[in-house]
C-alpha cells in the first residue's frame, strides 16, 4: 500500500515511521513493488510519440533552463491530500491557495529575475560599448575643436597683421620695401612696410614653397654697419602666403636691404641658408 501511496492516515504514519527506522527488508520490498507497478504502468501505456512534450521542454529550456540546477532534495511525493477526508489532519483551503500562490510567485519571480538579470547584463554591456564609442567621438571632436581654435587664432593674427600692414602702407611716414624673387623661389613675391610713427613693421609674402621639416623662413634687415639683423621668423601657409609682424629696422643706421633666407626652425642670429627673396628700400 505504501508503494501505491494509498495507506490511510494512521497506517501511513505508522509505515512512514517504520521505514524511517531503516528497516532494510521493508525498504527492499517497497522498491520491488514500485518497480513492478512501474513496469505495469509502462506496459499499459504502450508506445507513442512524445513530440509535443519535447516542444514544451524546449520552450522551458529556451526561457532559462539551459543548465540543470544544483543537486537538491527531490520532491517525489505528492503534496498533502485535501482536507475533506476525515482521517487526515486538516489544512485550510486559504493556506493551500496561499502556498500555491506563493510558490507560483516565487517560481515566476525566479524566472523573471533570471531573465531580467540577463537582459540588464546585456544592456549594460551594450551601454558600455556605446559609451566607449561616444568617448572616442568626443575626444576626436575635442581635438578637431582645438585645431579649429588654432586656425581661428591664426586667422585673427593674420587679420590683425593685415590691418597693421594696411595702416603701415597708409601712414605718411611709411617706407615700402619690395622683395624680389631669387632662384630658389622664382614665383614668390614680398613686401615690407615700415612705419616708424606706429612703431611697427609688417611683412607680407606669397608664392614661397613650404619649408622642409625643421626649417623656417627668416626675415633680415641688412644695415650699412651692422650687416644682417634678425627681423622675424615665420612659416607660410600651405599656399605659400604669410603676413607677419617684424621688428623695426635698426635706427641711426642706413638700411641697405631686406632679405628672406631659409634657416633652421626658430631662426638664427646670422643668415646661413639660401636666400629666397631680397629687396632694397
Amino acid at each position: 500500500m505504501e508503494a501505491l501511496g494509498t495507506l490511510d492516515g494512521e497506517d501511513a504514519r505508522a509505515m512512514a515511521a517504520h521505514l524511517a527506522e531503516g528497516c532494510d527488508e521493508c525498504q527492499a520490498e517497497l522498491r520491488s513493488f514500485r518497480e513492478a507497478l512501474t513496469a505495469m504502468a509502462i506496459s499499459t501505456a504502450g508506445d507513442g510519440p512524445a513530440d509535443r512534450i519535447w516542444q514544451r521542454l524546449e520552450n522551458r529550456l529556451a526561457v532559462g533552463g539551459a543548465a540543470p540546477a544544483a543537486s537538491t532534495l527531490i520532491n517525489d511525493r505528492p503534496s498533502a491530500r485535501t482536507p475533506n477526508r476525515a482521517e487526515r489532519p486538516g489544512v485550510s483551503r486559504s493556506w493551500r491557495i496561499a502556498t500555491v500562490a506563493a510558490a507560483a510567485a516565487a517560481i515566476g519571480f525566479a524566472v523573471l529575475s533570471g531573465n531580467y538579470v540577463s537582459q540588464i547584463a546585456t544592456m549594460r554591456q551594450e551601454d558600455s560599448v556605446r559609451i566607449a564609442a561616444l568617448s572616442r567621438q568626443a575626444r576626436t571632436l575635442a581635438s578637431e575643436l582645438e585645431d579649429r581654435d588654432r586656425e581661428l587664432a591664426a586667422l585673427h593674427d593674420q587679420i590683425s597683421v593685415s590691418g597693421q600692414l594696411t595702416q603701415a602702407m597708409l601712414a605718411p611716414d611709411s617706407r615700402i620695401i619690395r622683395l624680389g624673387p631669387l632662384p630658389p623661389a622664382p614665383d614668390s613675391t614680398g613686401v615690407v612696410a615700415v612705419t616708424p610713427s606706429g612703431n611697427h613693421a609688417v611683412l607680407q609674402v606669397a608664392g614661397l614653397p613650404p619649408p622642409p621639416p625643421g626649417k623656417e623662413y627668416e626675415l633680415w634687415w641688412i644695415g650699412s654697419k651692422s650687416g644682417p639683423l634678425r627681423a622675424a621668423v615665420f612659416a607660410p601657409t600651405a599656399h605659400g602666403d604669410a603676413t607677419v609682424a617684424s621688428t623695426l629696422p635698426p635706427t641711426g643706421e642706413q638700411l641697405l636691404a631686406s632679405a628672406i633666407t631659409l634657416e633652421p626652425a626658430g631662426g638664427l642670429d646670422k643668415p646661413s641658408g639660401a636666400m629666397y627673396l631680397k629687396g632694397a628700400p
Binding site: L4, A36, T38, I42, S43, A45, D47, R56, T72
Partner: protein, 185 residues
C-alpha cells in the same frame, strides 16, 4: 553522450549526462518515457493536454534535479513514474472539482507496439504478469495506482470491505512482482 555508440546508454547514464547539462540526453529521456508518463497522467487526469503538461513537468523536474537521482532507491523508470503520479495527484487535488473518470479502474487498451525501453520479450513478460491477475485484483490495483484514493476511499467507492480491498491490492502486487522477477535476472 556519444550518439554513435552502438549500445544505447542505460537510463542511469542518461540521467548522469542530464545532470551534466546535456540537453540531447533530456531528449533521449523524453523519447523513452515521455509517452508513458503522459499516458499515466492522462489515465489519472482524464485530459490529454493536462497529461502532457504533467509529463513535461516531470521531465523538467528530472532535468533540474538529475544530480540528486539515487539509483539505490530504485530505477529511473520508477523514479519518473513516482514523480508523474505525484504531480498528477497534486493536479487532481488542485482542481476545484475533481475530474476523476467515472470508472478509473477501466483498463485502457494496450497498443501492440513495444516501448523503446522494453524489448518485445520484456513486454511479453510484463503483459504475462498482468494477465496473472484476477480481474477484480487488477481493477482494484489500477484504481489505487491511477487515482488519488486511499484504500478506505476505494472500499467506499467499490462497496467492498476494507479488508478485501487491502488483500486484493496486496495479492495483485505480489503476483505482479513475482511475474516480473525474470526481468531482473
Amino acid at each position: 553522450m556519444q550518439k554513435t555508440s552502438a549500445i544505447p546508454p542505460t537510463d542511469e547514464a542518461v540521467v548522469r549526462a542530464i545532470a551534466g547539462g546535456d540537453q540531447e540526453s533530456l531528449r533521449v529521456l523524453n523519447q523513452r518515457y515521455g509517452h508513458a508518463l503522459a499516458a499515466v497522467a492522462e489515465r489519472m487526469l482524464g485530459d490529454r493536454a493536462d497529461a502532457e503538461e504533467v509529463a513535461a513537468d516531470v521531465l523538467w523536474q528530472a532535468w533540474r534535479q538529475a544530480g540528486a537521482f539515487d539509483s539505490s532507491r530504485g530505477s529511473v523508470g520508477a523514479w519518473l513514474m513516482m514523480l508523474v503520479r505525484s504531480r498528477s495527484i497534486d493536479r487532481l487535488r488542485a482542481r476545484a472539482a475533481r475530474t476523476l473518470r467515472d470508472d478509473p479502474a477501466e483498463p485502457v487498451d494496450s497498443p501492440d507496439a513495444s516501448l523503446e525501453i522494453h524489448s518485445n520479450q520484456q513486454r511479453r513478460v510484463v503483459q504475462a504478469a498482468i494477465a496473472t491477475l484476477e480481474d477484480n485484483e487488477r481493477s482494484v490495483l489500477e484504481m489505487a495506482y491511477y487515482s488519488d484514493l486511499t484504500q478506505s476511499a476505494i472500499a467506499e467507492r467499490t462497496g467492498l470491505p476494507l479488508g478485501t480491498v487491502k488483500s486484493r491490492i496486496r495479492s495483485a502486487m505480489i503476483k505482479l512482482r513475482e511475474g516480473l522477477k525474470s526481468l531482473g535476472d
